[in-house]
Amino acid sequence: MRIFAENQPIPNMADIKALEDFVTQVRRDILRQVHRVNSGHPGGSLGCAEFFTALYQEVMTHNSDFNMNGKDEDVFFLSNGHISPVFYSVLARSGYFPVEELNTFRLINSRLQGHPTTHEGLPGIRMASGSLGQGLSVAIGAASSKKLNGDDKLVYALLGDGELQEGQNWEAFMYAAGNGIDNLIATIDLNGQQIDGSTDKVLPLGNLKEKFVAFGWDVLEIKDGNNIKEVIDGLKLAKSKTGNGKPVLILMHTVMGNGVDFMMHTHAWHGKAPNDEQLETALKQNPETLGDY
């Protein structure tokens, strides 16, 4: 059993450099997972490598000896389930399951389904996601359950920006504020891209900050979601704002495809795997740190 907690020293993770190395390895894992099966979603996954690393290596109090009920620990829900490669890599490298299992991503009989699921019993996953727009509601439910149980730990959720086009999210935003769900931190991954193009072109999201403030959330921003220190600081600031009667929302600006020059700033790599040559180039830009699986 390995317990991660905010105020506990984490072996080999004491400084930012170590966390950056972790992120680099996660990027390699993402690229190698999608390359092997020639499918999956590298773009959004690469953009969120720092967020997942910060959450699981530094911010959340959680137990890699997985218990579905999540009693007395922080729990996390991924709503935009297509970025499963980053989730799987960080869970494996945080001790939830063997890193070698990343080799089975999207293969038949695997616990690492294309989109995350509880169905195959993969440790670390508490809810299936993939059909968009459902994660925040689930997170609100888990947060309400914690309140009823007198459990003072927090619930975290990550949502994609394109996913905000799903109406259920707005039911959930309204409900969480209206009912003072203040043990919840929702982060929006603002990379501005979705499958068919930029969010501005497909369906403009408008001024999100004003919308969330108007909906009654405590809103803060992470200007560079691909800077691990900024992400950690942002999440810790968000944490300090919990318990004040309002749900907390982070607008986190990231670059889709971050860390691989030819994948950055475009929707082209939303759901496309690199070929052999592209993989080699991408991996050269992200040299091995913790050791490949």
């Binding site: 009920n69 009693k71 509880t118 994660g135 888990a142 409900y175």
Partner: protein, 317 residues
């Protein structure tokens, strides 16, 4: 035939409300969620007794299903309440991904099912919900026949681990099953033994089946009546054993023949014991406004319809 006494007309939704009230007192993990229909679902008493465990979600059914799914994490047993139409069709994908596929212990409790919702008309009268829910892997599907049975079912599903769809209705109907009776999920209830035809009915059609049985007896026809309150998992053994004796069967339900109890029975029999079958169900149609009795009559969902189908199926033996 064995006689059953109507102890007074009551609505099945009130049976749900009574069951929920009792669960509030006996099981502290039970929580109730409602989408702006607290009175219609008879959840008021639970709400008054346990305001901390009652969640008013507003007119946002998708959010309600998601919140319910999340509440199971932490050990809660959520009961969601709204009309059958908004409990299923409106939120099919939320139930599919966040409840059924995620193996969550959510109880989806649906009132105002079928045409007997009455005057509100077809927008609110779902006749497809049994099909939608029974197709979901791992989902238990129950349709109760009267007040007492609905109360018993509500208590039983709290003890069952896994997602459940509990379907009941709006109108006051005969209350004839035993008070505080036991409810065994997946177990058919034999109401009357007979030799000429098997009638398996669910929901509001069970009482109609008993009325039909009485009338058939006067015509010299001996009908076996089985109450199938659990459509999934289906008590196949009870059905097969009965038709071994009678040689023909009528299924009766307040639902489209497509996707309903009748189709599940037909599959069971075609695999095990091919048998002539007739269907008392709606014929791939929407409902309309009217009184429950008018609609049951117009759409062929009453004792008269069962009698006619019974005679028809006997002639096919």
């Amino acid at each position: 035939m064995k006689t059953y006494t109507n102890t007074g007309n009551k609505d099945t939704r009130s049976g749900f409300g009574a069951g929920l009230t009792e669960l509030g007192k006996t099981n502290e993990n039970v929580v109730a969620l409602c989408a702006d229909l607290t009175g219609s679902l008879k959840m008021d008493e639970f709400k008054e007794n346990h305001p901390d465990r009652f969640f008013q979600i507003g007119i946002a059914e998708a959010n309600m299903i998601g919140i319910a799914a999340g509440m199971t994490i932490g050990g809660k047993i959520p009961f969601t309440g709204t009309f059958a139409n908004f409990s299923t069709g409106r939120v099919y994908d939320q139930i599919r991904q966040s409840v059924a596929y995620s193996d969550k212990n959510v109880k989806i409790c649906a009132s105002h099912a079928g045409v007997t919702l009455g005057e509100d008309g077809a927008t609110h009268q779902i006749l497809e919900d049994i099909g939608l829910m029974k197709m979901l892997p791992g989902m238990t599907v129950i349709n109760t026949c009267d007040y007492n049975q609905t109360k018993a079912a509500t208590l039983a599903i709290a003890k069952h681990e896994g997602p459940v769809y509990l379907r009941f209705g709006r109108p006051k109907v005969s209350n004839f099953t035993p008070e505080n009776g036991t409810f065994e999920i997946g177990k058919a209830v034999l109401l009357n033994e007979g030799t000429d035809v098997t009638i398996v009915a669910t929901g509001h059609l069970v009482w109609e089946a008993l009325l039909a049985c009485e009338a058939l007896e006067k015509d010299g026809i001996s009908a076996e009546v089985i109450n199938i309150h659990t459509i999934k998992p289906l008590d196949e053994e009870a059905i097969i054993n009965s038709v071994k004796k009678t040689g023909c069967i009528v299924t009766a339900e307040e639902h489209n023949y497509l996707g309903g109890l009748g189709e599940s029975v037909a599959r069971t029999l075609s695999l095990n014991l091919p048998t002539p079958q007739e269907f008392v169900a709606t014929e791939d149609t929407f409902g309309e406004s009217g009184t429950p009795a008018q609609l049951m009559d117009k759409y062929g969902l009453n004792a008269d319809a069962i009698i006619a189908k019974a005679k028809q199926v006997i002639s096919r033996k």
